[in-house]
Symmetry: D3
Subunit: 67 residues, 6 copies
Protein backbone atom coordinates (compact mmCIF):
# COMPACT_ATOMS: atom_id res chain seq x y z
CA UNK A 1 0.00 0.00 0.00
CA UNK A 2 2.98 2.38 -0.01
CA UNK A 3 3.02 5.46 -2.17
CA UNK A 4 6.34 6.63 -3.59
CA UNK A 5 6.97 9.88 -5.42
CA UNK A 6 10.29 10.25 -7.26
CA UNK A 7 11.23 13.67 -8.58
CA UNK A 8 14.11 13.97 -11.05
CA UNK A 9 15.21 16.62 -13.52
CA UNK A 10 13.83 16.15 -17.03
CA UNK A 11 16.94 14.77 -18.73
CA UNK A 12 15.72 12.14 -21.11
CA UNK A 13 15.04 9.20 -18.81
CA UNK A 14 13.65 6.47 -21.06
CA UNK A 15 10.45 4.51 -20.50
CA UNK A 16 12.64 1.47 -19.80
CA UNK A 17 14.65 3.31 -17.14
CA UNK A 18 11.49 4.56 -15.51
CA UNK A 19 10.01 1.04 -15.54
CA UNK A 20 13.22 -0.20 -13.88
CA UNK A 21 12.84 2.43 -11.14
CA UNK A 22 9.21 1.42 -10.59
CA UNK A 23 10.10 -2.26 -10.34
CA UNK A 24 13.13 -1.60 -8.14
CA UNK A 25 11.46 0.59 -5.57
CA UNK A 26 8.44 -1.73 -5.39
CA UNK A 27 10.72 -4.72 -4.73
CA UNK A 28 12.70 -2.75 -2.15
CA UNK A 29 9.53 -2.05 -0.15
CA UNK A 30 8.55 -5.71 -0.37
CA UNK A 31 11.95 -6.96 0.78
CA UNK A 32 12.52 -4.41 3.56
CA UNK A 33 9.02 -3.93 4.95
CA UNK A 34 7.02 -6.83 3.47
CA UNK A 35 4.73 -4.41 1.64
CA UNK A 36 2.35 -5.86 -0.90
CA UNK A 37 3.64 -4.97 -4.38
CA UNK A 38 0.14 -5.24 -5.87
CA UNK A 39 -0.92 -2.03 -4.17
CA UNK A 40 2.39 -0.14 -4.18
CA UNK A 41 2.01 3.04 -6.22
CA UNK A 42 4.99 4.88 -7.71
CA UNK A 43 4.72 8.28 -9.40
CA UNK A 44 7.72 9.80 -11.21
CA UNK A 45 7.81 13.56 -11.81
CA UNK A 46 10.27 14.92 -14.35
CA UNK A 47 10.99 18.58 -13.61
CA UNK A 48 12.46 21.17 -16.00
CA UNK A 49 15.94 22.34 -14.98
CA UNK A 50 14.68 25.93 -14.73
CA UNK A 51 12.28 24.71 -12.03
CA UNK A 52 14.76 22.75 -9.92
CA UNK A 53 17.05 24.57 -7.52
CA UNK A 54 19.92 23.46 -5.36
CA UNK A 55 22.50 25.61 -3.60
CA UNK A 56 20.32 28.66 -4.28
CA UNK A 57 20.59 28.33 -8.06
CA UNK A 58 18.51 26.65 -10.72
CA UNK A 59 20.05 23.58 -12.33
CA UNK A 60 20.00 25.51 -15.64
CA UNK A 61 22.24 28.19 -14.08
CA UNK A 62 24.52 25.63 -12.45
CA UNK A 63 25.09 23.78 -15.71
CA UNK A 64 25.83 27.01 -17.60
CA UNK A 65 28.41 27.83 -14.92
CA UNK A 66 29.87 24.33 -15.23
CA UNK A 67 28.81 23.33 -11.74
CA UNK B 1 -8.08 26.24 4.25
CA UNK B 2 -7.55 22.62 3.21
CA UNK B 3 -5.18 21.72 0.41
CA UNK B 4 -6.00 18.73 -1.78
CA UNK B 5 -3.74 17.18 -4.40
CA UNK B 6 -5.30 14.68 -6.80
CA UNK B 7 -2.99 12.65 -9.02
CA UNK B 8 -4.44 10.72 -11.95
CA UNK B 9 -3.00 9.22 -15.10
CA UNK B 10 -3.13 11.50 -18.14
CA UNK B 11 -6.05 9.94 -19.98
CA UNK B 12 -7.98 12.83 -21.45
CA UNK B 13 -9.90 14.14 -18.45
CA UNK B 14 -11.80 17.18 -19.74
CA UNK B 15 -11.83 20.65 -18.21
CA UNK B 16 -15.45 19.99 -17.22
CA UNK B 17 -14.57 16.75 -15.44
CA UNK B 18 -11.72 18.43 -13.61
CA UNK B 19 -14.01 21.31 -12.59
CA UNK B 20 -16.47 18.71 -11.27
CA UNK B 21 -13.72 17.11 -9.18
CA UNK B 22 -12.70 20.51 -7.78
CA UNK B 23 -16.30 21.38 -6.87
CA UNK B 24 -16.99 17.93 -5.43
CA UNK B 25 -13.98 17.67 -3.16
CA UNK B 26 -14.43 21.26 -1.94
CA UNK B 27 -18.07 20.50 -1.02
CA UNK B 28 -17.06 17.26 0.67
CA UNK B 29 -14.65 19.11 2.96
CA UNK B 30 -17.33 21.67 3.75
CA UNK B 31 -19.96 19.04 4.55
CA UNK B 32 -17.76 16.66 6.54
CA UNK B 33 -15.42 19.06 8.37
CA UNK B 34 -17.08 22.47 7.95
CA UNK B 35 -14.07 23.78 6.03
CA UNK B 36 -14.42 27.14 4.33
CA UNK B 37 -14.70 26.55 0.57
CA UNK B 38 -13.36 30.06 -0.17
CA UNK B 39 -9.86 29.03 0.90
CA UNK B 40 -9.91 25.36 -0.11
CA UNK B 41 -7.22 24.75 -2.74
CA UNK B 42 -7.31 21.76 -5.10
CA UNK B 43 -4.45 20.87 -7.46
CA UNK B 44 -4.84 18.10 -10.04
CA UNK B 45 -1.73 16.46 -11.50
CA UNK B 46 -2.08 14.41 -14.68
CA UNK B 47 0.77 11.91 -14.93
CA UNK B 48 2.00 10.11 -18.07
CA UNK B 49 1.36 6.37 -17.96
CA UNK B 50 5.12 5.72 -18.33
CA UNK B 51 5.57 7.60 -15.04
CA UNK B 52 2.89 5.82 -12.99
CA UNK B 53 3.61 2.44 -11.50
CA UNK B 54 1.45 -0.07 -9.68
CA UNK B 55 2.24 -3.70 -8.94
CA UNK B 56 5.86 -3.06 -9.91
CA UNK B 57 4.99 -2.16 -13.51
CA UNK B 58 4.27 1.08 -15.30
CA UNK B 59 0.69 1.62 -16.42
CA UNK B 60 1.98 1.64 -20.01
CA UNK B 61 3.35 -1.89 -19.54
CA UNK B 62 0.19 -3.08 -17.78
CA UNK B 63 -2.04 -1.88 -20.57
CA UNK B 64 0.15 -3.49 -23.25
CA UNK B 65 -0.14 -6.75 -21.31
CA UNK B 66 -3.92 -6.32 -21.05
CA UNK B 67 -3.81 -5.89 -17.28
CA UNK C 1 -5.43 4.13 -9.43
CA UNK C 2 -5.67 7.77 -8.34
CA UNK C 3 -3.71 9.10 -5.39
CA UNK C 4 -5.26 11.84 -3.29
CA UNK C 5 -3.55 13.79 -0.52
CA UNK C 6 -5.74 15.91 1.75
CA UNK C 7 -4.03 18.34 4.10
CA UNK C 8 -6.04 19.93 6.91
CA UNK C 9 -5.15 21.66 10.15
CA UNK C 10 -5.03 19.36 13.18
CA UNK C 11 -8.34 20.31 14.80
CA UNK C 12 -9.76 17.10 16.14
CA UNK C 13 -11.17 15.45 13.04
CA UNK C 14 -12.53 12.10 14.20
CA UNK C 15 -11.76 8.70 12.70
CA UNK C 16 -15.36 8.65 11.43
CA UNK C 17 -15.00 12.02 9.71
CA UNK C 18 -11.76 10.93 8.10
CA UNK C 19 -13.37 7.68 6.95
CA UNK C 20 -16.19 9.73 5.42
CA UNK C 21 -13.65 11.86 3.53
CA UNK C 22 -11.89 8.74 2.25
CA UNK C 23 -15.16 7.19 1.08
CA UNK C 24 -16.40 10.45 -0.44
CA UNK C 25 -13.36 11.30 -2.48
CA UNK C 26 -13.02 7.72 -3.70
CA UNK C 27 -16.66 7.73 -4.88
CA UNK C 28 -16.18 11.14 -6.51
CA UNK C 29 -13.30 9.82 -8.61
CA UNK C 30 -15.37 6.78 -9.59
CA UNK C 31 -18.40 8.84 -10.59
CA UNK C 32 -16.56 11.62 -12.44
CA UNK C 33 -13.67 9.75 -14.07
CA UNK C 34 -14.67 6.08 -13.76
CA UNK C 35 -11.61 5.38 -11.62
CA UNK C 36 -11.40 1.98 -9.93
CA UNK C 37 -12.07 2.48 -6.20
CA UNK C 38 -10.13 -0.68 -5.32
CA UNK C 39 -6.83 1.02 -6.17
CA UNK C 40 -7.67 4.61 -5.18
CA UNK C 41 -5.34 5.70 -2.38
CA UNK C 42 -6.18 8.59 -0.04
CA UNK C 43 -3.74 10.01 2.50
CA UNK C 44 -4.86 12.62 5.03
CA UNK C 45 -2.23 14.84 6.70
CA UNK C 46 -3.21 16.76 9.83
CA UNK C 47 -0.92 19.76 10.26
CA UNK C 48 -0.30 21.75 13.48
CA UNK C 49 -1.65 25.30 13.28
CA UNK C 50 1.87 26.68 13.91
CA UNK C 51 2.93 24.94 10.69
CA UNK C 52 0.09 26.16 8.43
CA UNK C 53 0.23 29.63 6.98
CA UNK C 54 -2.24 31.67 4.98
CA UNK C 55 -2.14 35.38 4.27
CA UNK C 56 1.47 35.48 5.50
CA UNK C 57 0.53 34.38 9.03
CA UNK C 58 0.34 31.07 10.80
CA UNK C 59 -3.15 29.84 11.66
CA UNK C 60 -2.12 30.05 15.34
CA UNK C 61 -1.46 33.79 14.93
CA UNK C 62 -4.64 34.34 12.95
CA UNK C 63 -6.80 32.68 15.58
CA UNK C 64 -5.17 34.69 18.40
CA UNK C 65 -5.94 37.83 16.43
CA UNK C 66 -9.53 36.68 15.90
CA UNK C 67 -9.10 36.29 12.15
CA UNK D 1 18.94 20.00 3.74
CA UNK D 2 15.44 21.42 3.46
CA UNK D 3 13.15 20.55 0.58
CA UNK D 4 10.76 23.18 -0.69
CA UNK D 5 8.00 22.67 -3.24
CA UNK D 6 6.35 25.77 -4.71
CA UNK D 7 3.19 25.31 -6.77
CA UNK D 8 1.92 28.20 -8.89
CA UNK D 9 -0.45 28.49 -11.81
CA UNK D 10 1.24 28.33 -15.22
CA UNK D 11 1.13 32.02 -16.13
CA UNK D 12 4.41 32.74 -17.86
CA UNK D 13 6.84 32.97 -14.95
CA UNK D 14 10.25 33.53 -16.57
CA UNK D 15 13.42 31.57 -15.89
CA UNK D 16 14.78 34.69 -14.15
CA UNK D 17 11.75 34.95 -11.87
CA UNK D 18 12.00 31.29 -11.00
CA UNK D 19 15.73 31.65 -10.28
CA UNK D 20 14.87 34.58 -7.98
CA UNK D 21 12.36 32.42 -6.10
CA UNK D 22 14.93 29.64 -5.72
CA UNK D 23 17.58 32.04 -4.40
CA UNK D 24 15.12 33.83 -2.14
CA UNK D 25 13.67 30.81 -0.43
CA UNK D 26 17.11 29.23 0.01
CA UNK D 27 18.39 32.42 1.69
CA UNK D 28 15.29 32.62 3.87
CA UNK D 29 15.94 29.12 5.23
CA UNK D 30 19.56 30.02 5.88
CA UNK D 31 18.71 33.25 7.69
CA UNK D 32 15.80 31.94 9.74
CA UNK D 33 16.90 28.38 10.55
CA UNK D 34 20.62 28.33 9.66
CA UNK D 35 20.02 25.68 7.02
CA UNK D 36 22.90 24.87 4.68
CA UNK D 37 22.09 26.37 1.25
CA UNK D 38 24.34 23.84 -0.48
CA UNK D 39 21.83 21.05 0.18
CA UNK D 40 18.58 23.04 0.05
CA UNK D 41 16.43 21.72 -2.78
CA UNK D 42 13.62 23.78 -4.35
CA UNK D 43 11.16 22.37 -6.89
CA UNK D 44 8.69 24.66 -8.68
CA UNK D 45 5.56 23.15 -10.24
CA UNK D 46 3.60 25.22 -12.74
CA UNK D 47 0.00 24.01 -12.91
CA UNK D 48 -2.52 24.61 -15.71
CA UNK D 49 -5.40 26.84 -14.64
CA UNK D 50 -7.87 24.04 -15.48
CA UNK D 51 -6.12 21.93 -12.85
CA UNK D 52 -6.06 24.49 -10.03
CA UNK D 53 -9.15 25.06 -7.95
CA UNK D 54 -10.01 27.55 -5.26
CA UNK D 55 -13.42 28.35 -3.83
CA UNK D 56 -14.80 25.23 -5.52
CA UNK D 57 -14.01 26.50 -9.04
CA UNK D 58 -11.08 26.10 -11.39
CA UNK D 59 -8.97 29.20 -11.95
CA UNK D 60 -10.01 29.02 -15.62
CA UNK D 61 -13.68 29.36 -14.59
CA UNK D 62 -12.92 32.12 -12.09
CA UNK D 63 -11.08 34.20 -14.66
CA UNK D 64 -13.87 33.77 -17.23
CA UNK D 65 -16.31 35.02 -14.57
CA UNK D 66 -14.02 37.94 -13.76
CA UNK D 67 -13.26 36.67 -10.27
CA UNK E 1 19.79 15.55 -7.02
CA UNK E 2 16.61 13.44 -6.96
CA UNK E 3 14.00 13.83 -4.25
CA UNK E 4 12.07 10.76 -3.13
CA UNK E 5 9.10 10.71 -0.79
CA UNK E 6 7.99 7.34 0.57
CA UNK E 7 4.67 7.16 2.39
CA UNK E 8 3.85 4.06 4.43
CA UNK E 9 1.37 3.29 7.18
CA UNK E 10 2.73 3.74 10.70
CA UNK E 11 3.30 0.10 11.61
CA UNK E 12 6.52 0.03 13.58
CA UNK E 13 9.16 0.29 10.87
CA UNK E 14 12.49 0.40 12.71
CA UNK E 15 15.26 2.96 12.26
CA UNK E 16 17.31 0.19 10.64
CA UNK E 17 14.57 -0.66 8.14
CA UNK E 18 14.14 3.00 7.26
CA UNK E 19 17.92 3.38 6.82
CA UNK E 20 17.84 0.36 4.49
CA UNK E 21 15.08 1.99 2.42
CA UNK E 22 17.08 5.23 2.20
CA UNK E 23 20.23 3.40 1.12
CA UNK E 24 18.35 1.18 -1.33
CA UNK E 25 16.44 3.88 -3.16
CA UNK E 26 19.54 6.10 -3.34
CA UNK E 27 21.54 3.24 -4.90
CA UNK E 28 18.69 2.45 -7.31
CA UNK E 29 18.75 6.02 -8.64
CA UNK E 30 22.52 5.86 -9.01
CA UNK E 31 22.46 2.54 -10.87
CA UNK E 32 19.49 3.26 -13.15
CA UNK E 33 19.92 6.97 -13.89
CA UNK E 34 23.50 7.74 -12.74
CA UNK E 35 22.17 10.21 -10.16
CA UNK E 36 24.67 11.54 -7.62
CA UNK E 37 23.93 9.88 -4.25
CA UNK E 38 25.50 12.82 -2.36
CA UNK E 39 22.55 15.05 -3.24
CA UNK E 40 19.75 12.46 -3.33
CA UNK E 41 17.18 13.31 -0.66
CA UNK E 42 14.73 10.72 0.71
CA UNK E 43 11.87 11.60 3.06
CA UNK E 44 9.77 8.86 4.68
CA UNK E 45 6.31 9.72 5.99
CA UNK E 46 4.61 7.29 8.37
CA UNK E 47 0.85 7.76 8.28
CA UNK E 48 -1.69 6.65 10.90
CA UNK E 49 -4.00 3.91 9.64
CA UNK E 50 -7.03 6.17 10.29
CA UNK E 51 -5.53 8.61 7.78
CA UNK E 52 -4.77 6.14 4.98
CA UNK E 53 -7.53 5.00 2.68
CA UNK E 54 -7.70 2.39 -0.05
CA UNK E 55 -10.77 0.94 -1.69
CA UNK E 56 -12.86 3.72 -0.12
CA UNK E 57 -12.09 2.61 3.44
CA UNK E 58 -9.47 3.56 5.99
CA UNK E 59 -6.83 0.94 6.72
CA UNK E 60 -8.15 0.87 10.31
CA UNK E 61 -11.60 -0.17 9.02
CA UNK E 62 -10.13 -2.71 6.60
CA UNK E 63 -8.11 -4.41 9.31
CA UNK E 64 -11.09 -4.57 11.68
CA UNK E 65 -13.05 -6.23 8.87
CA UNK E 66 -10.18 -8.67 8.25
CA UNK E 67 -9.42 -7.25 4.80
CA UNK F 1 -2.95 31.43 -4.79
CA UNK F 2 0.41 29.66 -4.54
CA UNK F 3 0.93 26.62 -2.36
CA UNK F 4 4.30 26.12 -0.70
CA UNK F 5 5.43 23.05 1.22
CA UNK F 6 8.61 23.33 3.27
CA UNK F 7 10.11 20.14 4.69
CA UNK F 8 12.80 20.39 7.36
CA UNK F 9 14.22 17.99 9.91
CA UNK F 10 12.53 18.15 13.33
CA UNK F 11 15.19 20.09 15.24
CA UNK F 12 13.30 22.43 17.51
CA UNK F 13 12.23 25.20 15.14
CA UNK F 14 10.14 27.59 17.26
CA UNK F 15 6.68 28.90 16.46
CA UNK F 16 8.28 32.32 15.88
CA UNK F 17 10.80 30.92 13.40
CA UNK F 18 8.06 29.07 11.55
CA UNK F 19 5.93 32.24 11.46
CA UNK F 20 8.94 34.08 10.01
CA UNK F 21 9.28 31.44 7.28
CA UNK F 22 5.58 31.73 6.45
CA UNK F 23 5.73 35.52 6.24
CA UNK F 24 8.99 35.49 4.27
CA UNK F 25 7.96 33.03 1.60
CA UNK F 26 4.57 34.71 1.18
CA UNK F 27 6.26 38.09 0.66
CA UNK F 28 8.76 36.57 -1.75
CA UNK F 29 5.95 35.28 -3.96
CA UNK F 30 4.26 38.67 -3.85
CA UNK F 31 7.43 40.56 -4.75
CA UNK F 32 8.68 38.21 -7.47
CA UNK F 33 5.45 37.05 -9.09
CA UNK F 34 2.81 39.48 -7.80
CA UNK F 35 0.94 36.64 -6.12
CA UNK F 36 -1.88 37.58 -3.75
CA UNK F 37 -0.68 36.94 -0.17
CA UNK F 38 -4.28 36.52 1.04
CA UNK F 39 -4.56 33.16 -0.71
CA UNK F 40 -0.94 31.97 -0.45
CA UNK F 41 -0.84 28.76 1.59
CA UNK F 42 2.34 27.53 3.31
CA UNK F 43 2.62 24.14 5.00
CA UNK F 44 5.72 23.22 7.02
CA UNK F 45 6.50 19.55 7.67
CA UNK F 46 9.00 18.66 10.39
CA UNK F 47 10.48 15.23 9.73
CA UNK F 48 12.26 12.96 12.23
CA UNK F 49 15.97 12.53 11.47
CA UNK F 50 15.45 8.74 11.15
CA UNK F 51 13.06 9.48 8.28
CA UNK F 52 15.26 11.92 6.33
CA UNK F 53 18.02 10.59 4.12
CA UNK F 54 20.76 12.27 2.15
CA UNK F 55 23.83 10.67 0.61
CA UNK F 56 22.25 7.24 1.15
CA UNK F 57 22.18 7.61 4.95
CA UNK F 58 19.63 8.83 7.44
CA UNK F 59 20.40 12.13 9.14
CA UNK F 60 20.50 10.20 12.43
CA UNK F 61 23.33 8.02 11.08
CA UNK F 62 25.17 11.00 9.60
CA UNK F 63 25.13 12.90 12.87
CA UNK F 64 26.36 9.85 14.83
CA UNK F 65 29.23 9.59 12.36
CA UNK F 66 29.96 13.31 12.73
CA UNK F 67 28.99 14.09 9.14
Amino acid sequence: MPYVNIKITRDGATAEQKATLIRGVTELLQVVLDKNPATTVVVIDEVDTDNWGIGGESVTERRKAGR
